[in-house]
């Protein structure tokens, strides 16, 4: 039996299963926190006017897991009292399901919103993760214009 590289390791911030937001919230919830801000990125049916069937995510998992851990640590250092949990989905992500979740618990809502926004913005620009859109007529990697592959059986 062949084991895919991803399956051999346990990542802290990457999962091939649907994201369990309740479990992430439980990780950060705290009776000293008065505010919890959660961001979910969800798979949309439309991308620049084109209809999407499915999203698929790929990562450089060793680096992505490390980069996300650094982003979490930086946010917790910058926003005193904030606790941050992040999970990114890999593989197929059906429409409407979450591709990424950021949950921040903090003493007050100002820090909770600001830390949550900072984490998702930084993750998008720094974590080595790629999104492929599957259309009726083929697939393309977002942000990589020449990557469209027509569907073989179309």
């Amino acid at each position: 039996m062949t084991v895919a590289p991803d399956a051999r390791k346990q990542w802290h911030h990457l999962t091939r299963a649907p994201i369990d937001v309740g479990a992430l919230t439980a990780q950060v919830a705290d009776v000293e926190a008065g505010a919890i801000c959660t961001f979910l990125g969800t798979a949309r049916r439309h991308s620049e006017g084109k209809e999407v069937n499915l999203l698929r995510y790929e990562a450089y998992p060793e680096m992505a897991d490390r980069v996300i851990a650094e982003i979490v640590a930086a946010a917790q250092a910058r926003f005193a009292g904030a606790k941050v949990a992040v999970m990114h989905r890999l593989g197929d992500c059906p429409l409407g399901e979450a591709s990424v979740a950021v949950v921040v618990a903090a003493p007050h809502r100002g820090e909770a919103f600001a830390a949550c926004r900072e984490v998702i913005d930084t993750l998008k620009t720094k974590a080595p993760i790629w999104k492929q859109e599957e259309f009726r007529d083929g697939t393309a990697w977002v942000g990589d214009p020449g990557s469209f592959q027509p569907r073989r059986d179309a």
């Binding site: 790929e58 990562a59 060793e62 993750l123 990589d144 990557s147």
Partner: protein, 80 residues
């Protein structure tokens, strides 16, 4: 000197593989020199935007590579 070059997303798709093992390279070799060599051997790379990571951190072109380094070519990120 041996290196692994990891490929992802649209680059892996164009290359038809997820890894180029590079064996018996002459040291010293900078990141920039490696990129030149890869773009000569795989011309499709010249038309793809990417950045280079070395041992899981983005690097500058003038860094010198070491034996056993894990190099990765990262096309435009689109996580989230």
């Amino acid at each position: 000197m041996n290196l692994r070059v990891l490929l992802f997303a649209g680059i892996a798709e164009r290359a038809g593989t997820r890894e180029w093992p590079l064996l018996d390279l002459e040291a010293p070799l900078t990141v920039g020199a490696l990129v030149q060599r890869l773009e000569r051997d795989h011309p499709f790379l010249r038309s793809v935007p990417y950045v280079v990571a070395r041992n899981q951190a983005v690097v500058r072109a003038d860094e010198v590579l070491s034996d056993g380094d894990e190099v990765a070519l990262l096309p435009p990120l689109s996580g989230g």
